[in-house]
């Protein structure tokens, strides 16, 4: 797997939500790095695209943000999940699982037929 994949349309929001769910509050840079790490560095994430996505999630009320201090005392904006966000993660994750499961059926070679 030499090539890194681009982030598919619409999946970034779910990744961000899921990461926030498991990691707690994170600032934008930290979030971007976590997403890359979790993907096993297989994703080519353009950090800049993360911010409009976060803004959208915030406008929709799934996350909220506040300014805070980072580990090494630098001012940074932290994002955390809201209750609605928590519900949204569960819902969206379930939907994705279903979608990928269906797709998987198409992609695995037919065994019985």
């Amino acid at each position: 797997m030499g090539e890194k994949s681009d982030v598919w349309q619409g999946t970034l929001a779910l990744m961000a939500l899921r990461t926030l769910e498991s990691m707690g509050p994170l600032h934008g840079y930290g979030l971007a790095r976590r997403i890359e790490q979790i993907s096993g560095d297989r994703l080519q994430l353009n950090y800049g695209t993360l911010y409009p996505a976060l803004l959208k999630l915030e406008q929709e009320g799934f996350i909220r943000s506040r300014w805070g201090l980072s580990d090494n005392n630098r001012r940074a904006k932290y994002y955390e999940l809201t209750k609605a966000g928590l519900r949204q993660v569960k819902k969206a994750a379930a939907e994705w699982e279903q979608t990928t499961a269906i797709l998987a059926r198409f992609l695995t070679p037919a065994e019985e037929a």
Binding site: H27, G28, Y29, G30, R33, N46, Y47, G48, T49, Y51, P52, L55, K56, Q59, E60, G61, F62, S70, N72, R74, R75, A76, K77, A84, Q88
Partner: protein, 882 residues
């Protein structure tokens, strides 16, 4: 839900609240700093680390842009900016804006008014529950009712309906509440009527199934409010209707007066008790009397086609069993509350004709505004060129120009709605020449507002498209030099000229139609109505709805006539069932007895019943034979006929002593009278047969009551009070109605020609003014554009007169082209108006020969002012200024 929240946050962002750009700049800065720190920790040099951080971010400016677009609604933002700019521009040119808004406002107001009529008379569903599944059933002729036995067949056999109700559509009565007794009209309904119509009462209840013959009544909300002063305890009380005691069981909703939405019903009684109110409804089981109107509630899931087929089968069965009376082999099915097909046709023609005219007015106004916009575009070409040169896209400029014209359209729309609110109110208040209360009120409802809004935006867009297109394509080089940049080299017919030609052509059409209706009014005024209205007073009473028998009614009327005739200032007093020109009346078919030559077709004649002396009192000449006198109910039947009757039935031969017959009886003719307009002004000469009131009052009691006609020597209106006192002296409970002088009555009969002439006259005038202003505008613009050319011509020795002629000729050529185009169109369209014209042909020679010269002279005046200006140009100044 979340999407909506996001939209709301973004909308708020548009107006400056919420997060701003600085905040995001700080966030990005902190992002980069964190990334650099990480890089340094991993062993990169600070510069390399910074480079990496920026690469990973993928361009700070793009990120910022993407963020900004997500933060607010960018398209809305530019739209709002355009809007503010347009408002500023329009505000700067106050006069032009006002003229434009006024023009469009007049055009849209006309259309909104017409559409209010369409909405009221064509589109509005019946004021019942679930109107789409309530169907009215008509006999094959498309209008009217059924006999009671046939109604029962329908009710019992039509399986497509879940329930069927019948009603007598018009029942006259007198009602005593507070004050003087009032004549009111209502309906007699089967007890399930309100259930089938799904109407729930404001107070009380509808009728119960066992109440068919009970003296119970449902009153309208209006009657409750006015006659009973909104008495909250009215339900359960007893009221006196036509001299009988009825118990009020319910109060109907305020919006409901009748299913057909025209008749203004004030009360409802069970069908079985109708004959207590008026003797007219006695015979229920007569298959000949088609008095019961029918509505049915469609069973859910049932289709119209299937229902129609079932009803037609039913009609055929009835026609087989009763070939004498039931002749229809098909019934007509119509959504209840929609006008029956026969009356709808004429109304739709009328509305179409007038809608065409209103659209013409709007089109003329639109062309005018488009021309104004062109002038604006011309004066703004430098601005446009500069913006283009600075990199604005043409699309952006076009959007800006369109925004201007849409705003004008909307402004005109608002003005139009205000105007139409006013005109609909004025038109609703018009007095119809009908003796039965009819609700023709209409107003600007939400349908109309929606229509007006769509029309405003559409016309704004349409009239803006051409100027916007032209304005966004200036010849850049010319414009920046300050020269005319909209004129394309080598193009002689400009769009502006085209618009003005279209405008004048449309006003040719408009003026021709206006001319036709004015001529029609003029010719209506000279119609010979056949009687002398001056000095006549009329007043109606209906003793039969006060429980009078036929004999007592005759006694009452003759006593009243005697007493009134004895009053000072009264010449004579007679009674009739209905005055001429009342729109309503009886008809029957007649044929002469024993005349071989004329046994072709029976002739239809209008029927009037009168007392002796009627013709002298009315001023109708008696030409031959004698007047009525001494007729009795049981004696041989006599009749007096008019001249048209003699022509039609006897071919002009002397009819005195001859006999004629209708479906009921044979009459011997004792006299001949002059022709009168019997029902309406517009009718052709109509055969009329007069019968003796004494002889006919018992057999065929008048539905409309009896009208006392009094000839006075002075002012007839002054006699109203004394005569009313005489009536109440004879019976204090007698309701008096339709009190008016005969002149007022005749004026009301001019309702249609007056209405048409007023409407079309107004439209025609507006159109003419708009077209003249448009021509003036185009010519002034042409003069201002040719100032230099004219200066040169005059410097070369052209006389002011020559210059004047030059400009006049240009205007005249445009006008002539327009007349040549518009005249044939008007000629063809005038056929539409033919059903509403009195005494003139749709291709009226005077109208069609007068309109072109008239329009050309108006055009000459409109061109003359700019021509004068051109002629007064000082060549030196003209050459220096440019």
């Amino acid at each position: 839900m979340h999407k909506l929240r996001a939209l709301w946050v973004r909308l708020r962002g548009l107006f400056g609240s919420g997060r701003n750009d600085d905040d995001f700049a700080a966030e990005l800065e902190s992002h980069v700093a964190l990334h650099i720190e990480d890089g340094i920790r991993a062993g990169l040099s600070p510069e390399e680390s910074r480079r990496q951080a920026l690469i990973c971010l993928g361009g700070a400016e793009q990120t910022r842009q993407a963020y900004r677009e997500r933060r607010t609604l960018p398209w809305l933002e530019t739209l709002l900016r355009d809007l503010a700019y347009s408002l500023r521009t329009l505000g700067k040119h106050r006069v032009a804006t006002a003229v434009a808004i006024l023009s469009i406002g007049l055009g849209i107001g006309a259309n909104a008014t017409i559409f209010s009529m369409v909405s009221r008379f064509v589109l509005r569903p019946a004021p019942v529950g679930d109107p789409s599944s309530l169907l009215a059933v008509y006999p094959g002729s498309g209008v009217g009712g059924f006999s009671w036995p046939l109604y029962k067949n329908l009710r019992d056999q039509a399986k497509s309906f879940s329930s069927v109700a019948g009603y007598l559509p018009m029942v006259p009565a007198s009602i005593v509440g507070n004050g003087e007794p009032q004549r009111v009209w209502g309906q007699a309904v089967t007890t399930n009527f309100f259930d089938v119509a799904q109407l729930s009462m404001v107070h009380g209840r509808g009728f119960k199934s066992g109440e068919d013959h009970d003296p119970v009544v449902v009153v309208s909300a209006g009657l409750w409010q006015h006659q009973f002063r909104g008495d909250p305890e009215l339900v359960g009380k007893t009221v006196t209707i036509s001299g009988r005691a009825f118990t009020v069981v319910g109060i109907a909703p305020a919006a409901f007066h009748s299913i057909d939405q025209l008749f203004y019903g004030q009360f409802w009684v069970p069908l079985g008790s109708a004959d207590q109110l008026a003797p007219t409804f006695a015979e229920r089981n007569d298959r000949n009397a088609s008095t019961v109107w029918v509505v049915g509630r469609l069973r859910s899931g049932e289709t119209r086609t299937h229902t129609s087929a079932e009803l037609n089968a039913l009609a055929k069965r009835a026609a087989l069993s009763y070939p004498e009376t039931d002749k229809d082999d098909a019934f007509v099915l119509e959504e209840a509350g929609i006008l029956p097909p026969t009356s709808r046709g004429l109304l739709i023609i009328f509305l179409t004709a007038i809608a065409i005219v209103a659209l013409l007015v709007l089109a003329i106004a639109g062309a005018n505004v488009a021309n104004l916009q062109f002038a604006q575009a011309a004066s703004r070409q430098r601005e446009m060129a500069v913006r283009l040169a600075l990199g604005a896209t043409r699309g952006r400029l076009r959007r800006q120009m369109l925004m201007d014209s849409v705003l004008l359209g909307l402004g005109g729309g608002v003005l139009g709605v205000i105007l139409s609110v006013w005109t609909t109110r004025a038109l609703s208040a018009l007095h119809l020449p009908v003796a039965i209360p009819i609700d023709i009120g209409f107003r600007v409802d939400w349908h109309v507002q929606l229509f007006t809004f769509a029309l405003s935006v559409t016309s704004g867009l349409l009239l803006g498209v051409a100027p916007a297109w032209a304005a966004a394509r200036p010849q850049l080089a010319n414009a920046l030099k300050g020269e005319d940049a909209l004129a394309r080299p080598g193009r002689r017919i400009s769009l502006r000229n085209f618009l003005v030609v279209a405008q004048i052509a449309m006003s040719v059409v408009l003026l021709s139609i206006t001319g036709l209706f004015l001529r029609s009014l003029q010719s209506a005024a000279s119609i010979d109505i056949g009687f002398r209205a001056q000095g006549l007073l009329m007043m109606s009473v209906d003793p039969r709805v006060h429980g009078y028998t036929a004999e007592r009614t005759v006694d009452f009327l003759s006593l009243l006539q005697e007493r009134v005739a004895a009053l000072p200032g009264v010449v004579s007093a007679v009674s009739t069932d209905i005055a001429p020109l009342s729109t309503l009346g009886d008809f029957d078919s007649f044929h002469a007895i024993g005349q071989k030559s004329t046994d072709k077709e029976d002739s239809r004649a209008a029927l009037f019943t009168v007392t002796p002396g009627y013709f002298e009192t009315m001023g109708i000449p008696r030409i031959a034979g004698r007047d009525f006198g001494g007729e009795t109910a049981t004696g041989p039947k006599t009749a007096i006929v008019n001249r048209a009757f003699v022509e039609r039935v006897f071919g002009g031969a002397n009819p005195i002593g001859q006999q004629v017959a209708d479906s009921h009886a044979t009459y011997s003719i004792v006299g001949v009278a002059g022709n009168v307009k019997s029902l309406s002004l517009g009718e052709d000469l109509q055969p009329v047969l007069y019968r003796s009131l004494q002889q006919y009052i018992a057999a065929e009691p008048s539905f409309m009551g009896y009208t006392l006609v009094v000839r006075t020597s002075g002012n007839p209106a002054a006699m109203m009070e004394p005569i009313r006192r005489q009536i109440h002296a004879l019976d204090p409970a007698m309701a008096v109605f339709n009190e008016e002088t005969m002149e007022e009555h005749v004026r009301a009969a001019y309702f249609l020609p007056h209405l048409a002439a007023t409407l079309f006259g107004t439209f025609g005038f507006i159109g003419l003014v708009l077209a003249a202003v448009g021509l003036y505008g185009v010519m002034s613009y042409a003069v201002s554009r040719r100032t230099r050319e004219i200066g040169i011509r005059m410097a070369m020795g052209a006389q002011p007169g020559t210059v004047e002629r030059l400009i006049l000729r240009q205007g005249l050529v445009l006008t002539l082209i327009a007349v040549v185009l518009g005249w044939p169109a008007a000629w063809m369209l005038s056929r539409l108006a033919s059903s509403f014209l009195y005494g003139i042909q749709p291709h009226d020679v005077i109208t069609f020969s007068m309109v072109p010269p008239f329009l050309i002279s108006v055009a000459l005046v409109a061109c003359w002012i700019p021509a004068r200006r051109a002629a007064s140009i000082d060549p030196m100044r003209a050459l220096r200024t440019e």
